[in-house]
């Protein structure tokens, strides 16, 4: 394991202990351990199909797992703290014939302490599309709406599964700014990404998932530091070094 510089805290926002998950006979996650402190942006890096989405979905009870324990905000029963968790799934969708405004009002109503929708739309520059129906949104607009849906409940813990995948740099930067603002408000954010620039720029702590396990963890700087002398000072090179150059078969 590389670059363990995780602070030792009394209380964690998220604790994952010994999580294992298989699809049939294929082991996808093996004894995964993660501890996320309160506040900050945490990133999960891994190659396509390594099991990042599976890990996130196991955390929120969307997929059953074989072994291990997940605690979020001090609760092992995730249903009890759903009101404090905001999630943007990777393959998600919304009611196609509702407008942006209607979607945010609807999803905001599910939470006890939702945030101001006008401010949220302003933060993600959605004011001009507030009356547009979901089915008429572009990829970037739809992704911003999905991120907004994850934030509308004013959650303490936010999970974003590849929030900037396929977006142009302007929208990516807009989402990064939004996440920084959430972090400043004390929120804990866990995101999965393929963008090394994103991981390096906005994440305080990274976990690299490879061959069913977390093989490196620490701040982007510390992970690079571990390999600078022997390899490179770019996170992308370090990532390739750790996870290998060969093309592997994908898991979900």
């Amino acid at each position: 394991m590389f670059g363990q510089d995780e602070p030792i805290l009394d209380e964690y926002c998220v604790e994952i202990n010994g999580l294992s998950k298989s699809y049939g006979n294929q082991l996808v996650l093996n004894n995964v351990n993660m501890k996320l402190g309160s506040g900050g942006i945490y990133g999960i890096l891994g190659r396509n199909g390594v099991g990042k989405t599976t890990l996130l979905e196991c955390m929120i009870d969307l997929r059953p797992y074989k072994k291990g324990e997940v605690n979020i905000l001090g609760e092992s029963n995730i249903q009890k703290v759903k009101n404090k968790i905001g999630i943007q799934p990777q393959e998600a969708n919304l009611f196609p014939r509702q407008t942006v405004m209607e979607i945010l009002q609807l999803f905001g109503s599910f939470y006890q302490d939702s945030i101001n929708i006008v401010e949220l739309m302003d933060m993600l520059e959605m004011d001009k599309i507030k009356n547009k129906k979901v089915k008429d949104l572009s990829v970037g607009q739809r992704q911003r709406l999905l991120v907004s849906v994850a934030l509308v409940g004013n959650p303490d813990f936010i999970i974003l599964d590849e929030p900037t995948s396929g977006l142009d740099p302007q929208i990516r930067h807009l989402i990064w700014d939004c996440l920084q603002r959430m972090k400043e408000k004390g929120k804990t954010i866990l995101l999965s990404t393929h963008y090394m620039e994103e991981a390096e720029k906005i994440c305080d702590m990274l976990y690299i998932l490879h061959d069913t396990s977390i093989v490196a963890e620490g701040s982007p700087k510390s992970i690079i530091q571990q390999h600078r002398k022997t390899y490179s000072d770019r996170l992308e090179d370090v990532f390739i070094h750790i996870t290998g150059k060969n093309i592997r078969g994908e898991i979900d």
Binding site: L62, N93, F95, Y111
Partner: protein
């Protein structure tokens, strides 16, 4: 409590506007049965009264067309939208929120009851104007319709659990439901079929048979195939069994 109430009413509003803004679903669930009624009204002039009850063709068919309308909302208007919501990941997104599954299901039921109430009201007015429903029969007519709607709606949710593709769901349901409506005596009198006994017995396992029989005996005061007690009992029993199966097999993703 206040926020739960508002989330529930917003779910109902969303369900209604999703149907209202989709021209295809709106047409087939709400408007099509009236075209159907008009078509049979035209045929009424050419067809002699049925042997079954001495009723005119349209008199006989009137409750059947309402059953058809309820089936449009309860099955096509429930199964297909729920399969669509599941296949497109909308249910997955909802599952990730604090929204309780029972709140979601209940809101969907309320949406369909609102739509069916609209249908039932129009049919009641039409039936009254045409003289098929007497003043004293209005309440039984509405109650039977709501009972039928409950059963049909449960079928709609039940079928939604077994499909992941809208086209397959839509195609198979049409292929299944229309023949069932035909052989159950809902759309055509049973006596017109020249079928072997074994096949004739099949109609007794079709739930619509009991609903149609209940309509006929209550509206026209004629003796039906079964007693009202049996008709209501069968409808309630089928509803309970399928409700249990639906609850057991319901899936978000």
């Amino acid at each position: 409590m206040q926020h739960q109430k508002s989330s529930f009413s917003l779910m109902i509003k969303t369900g209604l506007t999703e149907i209202q803004r989709d021209a295809r679903t709106f047409f087939f669930t709400l408007l099509f049965p009236f075209f159907f009624l008009g078509m049979f009204a035209a045929m009424n002039f050419a067809i002699p009264p049925t042997e079954d009850m001495g009723l005119s063709f349209l008199e006989y068919l009137f409750p059947g067309i309402l059953v058809f309308a309820l089936v449009s909302i309860g099955i096509s208007g429930t199964t297909v939208p729920i399969v669509e919501m599941r296949s497109k990941g909308i249910l997955k997104t909802l599952k990730m929120t604090p929204l309780k599954p029972e709140s979601f299901i209940l809101s969907q039921i309320v949406v369909r009851f609102i739509l069916s109430f609209f249908q039932i009201s129009i049919f009641t007015i039409l039936g009254f104007i045409l003289g098929y429903i007497e003043l004293g029969n209005i309440i039984p007519f509405i109650l039977i319709s709501l009972l039928g709607m409950m059963m049909i709606l449960i079928f709609g949710f039940f079928f939604a659990n077994f499909f992941n593709n809208i086209e397959v769901a839509s195609g198979l349901l049409n292929a299944l439901v229309v023949p069932l409506l035909m052989v159950s005596g809902t759309l055509l009198p049973i006596y017109i079929y020249i079928l072997p006994d074994v096949v004739q017995k099949f109609i007794y396992i079709v739930p619509f048979t009991y609903l149609t029989d209940l309509y006929h005996s209550s509206l026209f005061g004629k003796e039906g195939e079964f007693s009202n007690f049996i008709n209501i009992g069968v409808i309630l029993s089928i509803s309970l069994v399928f409700f249990y199966l639906t609850k057991k097999t319901f899936k978000w993703t």
